[in-house]
């Protein structure tokens, strides 16, 4: 069936500024709120530009299905989904190959900072629902997931925040938005731990010279810091 064809842009950088007025190393406006799902043990809402994600934590609780239980530590179950109305073309409900892969990398991006060994045999369910998508949904979901876990009071070694590096008009840029992602050359989702600056998510598609890659890594590390700040502020606001 006929599908929405995205608008085309001649140039994504004009006079050193991106189409939305940002500098190359600048994040989109980021808004974080915790405690938005009263029935969950922890929850968060994160808005990065027009990308909006809700995260909820249920647990630690009895592990289900039981045969996936681990005697030594809690199991973190992550389910990432794009809601049907989150994009221009409606998405059929239910898991896809894409959402399965992202659920896995999101789990790997988060589990190393959780003291899972404190809850042997238990399960922690983390649901990440993208309610509006304008690029960077997996990064935004990981940022939301980390703060929802913290809000649930689960002991963690640090926070995790994520963004996507990219290359537009041949230049490295932080936190691509929808049009930049559609017409840009390269996309590199990236997540980092607040404490030791270790990297827990790294994917890349497109084209990077080894030098560009090195530069992209260090740009990402710097750019991501303000997100940790927003995460902490949101947690503090909630506890005030």
């Amino acid at each position: 069936m006929a599908s929405n064809v995205p608008k085309k842009y001649e140039k994504l950088i004009v006079n050193g500024k991106r189409l939305d007025g940002r500098k190359l190393d600048e994040l989109r406006p980021t808004k974080i709120e915790v405690g938005i799902i009263p029935s969950a043990d922890g929850s968060a809402y994160v808005e990065v530009g027009k990308t909006k994600v809700m995260a909820a934590v249920h647990g630690p609780k009895e592990m289900f299905p039981r045969h996936m239980m681990n005697e030594d530590r809690a199991v973190l179950n992550v389910r990432y989904a794009m809601l049907p109305f989150s994009t221009s073309d409606r998405i059929r409900p239910g898991p896809s190959r894409r959402s399965n892969e992202i659920s896995k990398v999101a789990r790997h991006a988060l589990e190393s900072v959780i003291f899972l060994e404190e809850y042997p045999t238990m399960g922690i369910d983390l649901t990440l629902d993208v309610i509006q998508a304008d690029a960077g949904t997996r990064a935004t979901a990981i940022t939301a997931g980390a703060v929802a876990l913290a809000h649930a009071g689960i002991p963690m070694k640090g926070l995790v925040a994520a963004t996507a590096m990219g290359k537009i008009d041949g230049k490295l840029a932080v936190d691509l938005n929808g049009p930049e992602d559609n017409f840009g050359d390269t996309d590199m989702p990236f997540a980092m731990v607040s404490t030791n600056k270790d990297i827990t998510l790294l994917q890349m598609d497109g084209d990077f010279t080894p030098d560009e890659f090195k530069k992209a890594l260090s740009m990402a590390k710097k750019a991501i810091e303000p997100i940790f700040e927003e995460q902490r502020k949101a947690l503090l606001r909630y506890h005030e």
Binding site: M1, L83, P84, S86, R90
Partner: protein, 267 residues
């Protein structure tokens, strides 16, 4: 998370005199209705009743009409009980509840001819607009049908039809898009029977104690367009007629709240 048997018994006895949150038997919790909450959807609304929280997005796509109605657009109401709202949804038979929820709301809208589907024909027998209303439960504290029904009609009332370009592609960004033709405002009102008492807008705890629930959807003219009895117990004729009267009365109040929220969005 689940109620103990003795709590259930206690709440059932106490309901005769008072509800857990102090409301009267026929009193709703506070209702909030926000429309236009999503950019990528053709229409959207978020509704809370007490702590129950529902988000509905309307998407439109081009599809093929049914053979027996070649000139009419198609409405599809779907609901997903995301694990975000409650982990209870993951085990047991919730799929059934989710299907019932969307089918009751679907019927309320369809049977009241809320959408003028004749205006959604693009090319007879070949192409019509398909209207998807996707219901997403964000927080579950009872009475999801009313919250979802209100959110769905509010989302439809604020939805726009995208433009079709000459080459057949859909342009969702054009400003000249026209409003979805919505001509009715069906409002579902649900009441439960707990220990012989009729109770509107039940909380999650109250629903767990209820013997039966009756949802009655009323139109602007006060006529009924859809009903659904749920729950294991029977209802007497008298109880049903009482609920019908209650529903008719409450639906008017809720309808003006919807109209106000929709108006706020259009301004």
């Amino acid at each position: 998370m689940s109620m103990l048997k003795q709590n259930r018994q206690y709440l059932r006895e106490k309901i005769i005199s008072s509800r857990e949150d102090g409301r009267s038997h026929t009193e709703y919790r506070p209702i909030t209705i926000k429309t236009g909450v999503l950019d990528k959807a053709e229409g959207s609304a978020r509704v809370t009743i007490g702590k129950s929280d529902v988000l509905v997005g309307v998407k439109m796509d081009i599809g093929t009409p049914f053979p027996d109605s070649p000139k009419e657009g198609i409405l599809m109401v779907n609901s997903e009980f995301s694990a975000i709202a409650s982990p209870d949804f993951e085990n047991g038979p919730p799929r059934e509840d989710s299907i019932e929820l969307s089918r009751v709301i679907d019927r309320g809208i369809r049977e009241s001819h809320t959408i003028d589907v004749g205006k959604l024909c693009i090319e007879e027998g070949e192409k019509v607009w398909m209207v998807f209303a996707d219901i997403n439960i964000l927080n579950y504290d009872g009475n999801l049908i009313d919250a979802a029904g209100i959110a769905t009609i509010a989302a439809l009332m604020t939805a726009n039809i995208p433009k079709i370009e000459k080459d057949g592609t859909i342009n969702r960004d054009d400003e000249s898009k026209s409003a979805l033709p919505v001509t009715e405002i069906p409002v579902p009102v649900s009441a439960g029977l707990i220990n012989g008492i009729i109770v509107v807008d039940m909380t999650k705890n109250e629903e767990k104690c209820a013997d039966a629930v009756m949802t009655i959807t009323t139109k602007k003219d006060g006529n009924f367009c859809a009903m659904q009895k749920a729950g294991p117990s029977a209802l007497s004729e008298e109880q049903i007629l009482n609920i019908a009267e209650l529903s008719q009365k409450e639906s008017k109040k809720i309808r003006s709240m919807i109209e106000k929220a929709v108006k706020a969005n259009k301004n």
